[in-house]
Symmetry: C2
């Protein structure tokens, strides 16, 4: 158990997978509710407990899954789960008494219990793997449905709390690293994605700002489209983005190679020598180092090694391993620099 | 001979010496003219040649000295001599046909022949060593005078081209590294030195700007003071500056230790990782690294090792070792970064 919180293991923790030069990881999320019980928004303590019990039973019946009661986790532990993208910030709020979490051993499956819907079933994989994940999520979904009745309507499909999830309740997301589009001022391309049914969010940073050149691309709607259509569309859009990012990298390598080398190596020099690192600066530097590794400028590091850094610099994670809830921001910046330096040594 | 131009050997090349934490090196300069010949400003080709011949003879007579005819050096070689502070920029100008240079083997003695005066006799030593240098310069001066008659006046002392050098023709200079006074905004103290007969110049940089926090402190006047008075005054002023710089370092270490560590280590990280380095940036980074070494923050480098960097990043030196007179500024910045990286590896 402790391992989950004090290690950097996460859906991010591997740089392997398809198209890992641009794609950090893929995610499939299904929204489901059990027919016999009111949706979380209108749930009673009793009905919420019933839902938790269903998933506890599921974990007992199926090997490889474990149940965590969020009420038993500290705020800091929940924060780390958010940083690992295993739960949403909303799921981490409150006392968590009627909120649960199902995880598999590798933290590549995460089922939030009693979040906005009874179940938010998530599967993660490094690199681009929407179809593989869909297959995995579909099987897991069947496994749960085998013993339970989902809220389902012939016309609207799976019923969900928010209408945007109606239908198949499917959301696919791809976490993209787009440093070359950023360096060459071509990120405007992301603005067009809204028009074709896609949502773009910075993975870190608030509002439209994205720190570390990380973007999550996902489908907006679920109603009236088959799972296959949704994922094929999303895949196609991401392939286009990957091509553009790779083109931008090739252009930089061809026309500004030494400047690019300079930036990537300086970033590594700062990461390995700084005594203070803010979260924001660390993510920006990691981005340049990841780019350097991806295009072969930095040869002694792997994408996998760099991907681990994303967790290593998270505030909650640092606070947890410091075993001191009261460390202030300055102490955290010190610890962050120390951890990064030791990790890269 | 080649060694002089393609190695970093220079009065800077050692970090040893007294008070080397603050003082890079000391210099004593004597201005002298031979009585029988007109001063360089009014010299004929014939009289200039006579002066050159005197010093050529001197080198033949006294072991350990060699004569260089500036007319036989390339502009780039002369530039390197300027960068090493062995000759003045003025001495490097023109075809150099009647200009000469006497050097000892370690380049700690440099006599410019037919610069503003017939002789500009310079002795250098790492660290603070005004009195030791004066002793050395005085003996060398006697050695030359033994076979020659200097232009000397009972009332004005040694006669020189410029009246500011009249008297004993002595100028003492101390090259100081004042990064902590700079970081803590206390460099205003240098403005007062003019009032007490001292001249302050940035060692690199133009006008009042000093790159790399390097300052040369020297006496303004020579008339009406004994050598001992001049050097005692200069020494006293420098001791005061050294105290203030050390106080500023202690203050930073006590109150801003981690910020200081962060700045010094980041500078080293950039120096060892950058692919491009301008001369200006390099000198600024070297300054922080030297500070880090001097106060014990950076333990694996010595002051001596860092002092070598000053020559390593000079444009002329880089151009000379590139064996290509035509390398442009970008290529020089690349080469500079490569040299620094390899040197510090």
């Amino acid at each position: 158990m402790a391992d989950l919180f004090t290690s950097t293991i996460s859906p991010w923790s591997s740089g392997k997978g398809e198209q890992a030069d641009v794609v950090l990881c893929s995610r499939i999320r299904l929204a489901r509710n059990f027919a016999p019980y009111p949706f979380p928004l209108k749930a009673t303590e009793e009905s919420s407990q019933k839902v938790l019990d269903i998933m506890k039973d599921f974990c007992q019946k199926h090997e490889g899954y474990r149940f965590l009661s969020l009420g038993e986790l500290s705020p800091l532990q929940k924060r780390v789960l958010v940083e690992k993208h295993l739960i949403s910030p909303e799921h981490a709020q409150g006392d968590g008494k009627y909120k649960g979490l199902v995880l598999d051993d590798e933290a590549t499956v995460s089922i939030m219990v009693n979040e906005e819907d009874h179940l938010r079933l998530q599967c993660f994989a490094p690199g681009m793997d929407l179809m593989g994940l869909w297959d995995k999520a579909d099987k897991l979904d069947d496994l749960i449905e085998a013993d339970n009745e989902y809220a389902f309507d012939e016309q609207y499909g799976y019923l969900t709390c928010c209408p945007t999830n109606l239908g198949n309740g499917l959301r696919g997301s791809v976490m993209m690293h787009l440093p070359a589009l950023s360096l060459s001022g071509q990120l405007g391309v992301l603005n067009q994605l809204g028009n074709i049914g896609m949502t773009v969010r910075g993975l870190y940073g608030e509002g439209s700002e994205a720190i570390g050149d990380l973007y999550q691309i996902s489908n907006q709607l679920t109603l009236g489209q088959s799972e296959n259509d949704i994922l094929t569309n999303l895949y196609g859009v991401n392939q286009q983005l990957i091509r553009e990012e790779r083109n931008a990298r090739d252009y930089l390598l061809e026309h500004n190679r030494v400047q690019l080398e300079d930036r990537c190596w300086r970033a590594l020099g700062t990461l390995t020598h700084a005594r203070y690192l803010s979260s924001r600066e660390a993510l920006s530097l990691i981005s340049l180092v990841r780019l350097g590794v991806a295009v072969g400028i930095i040869g002694h590091l792997t994408l996998e090694a760099v991907s681990n850094l994303y967790m290593l610099v998270q505030p909650g994670y640092l606070q947890l391993i410091a075993k001191n809830n009261d460390i202030n921001e300055t102490e955290r910046d010190l610890l962050r620099a120390k951890q990064v330096k030791e990790y890269l040594a």
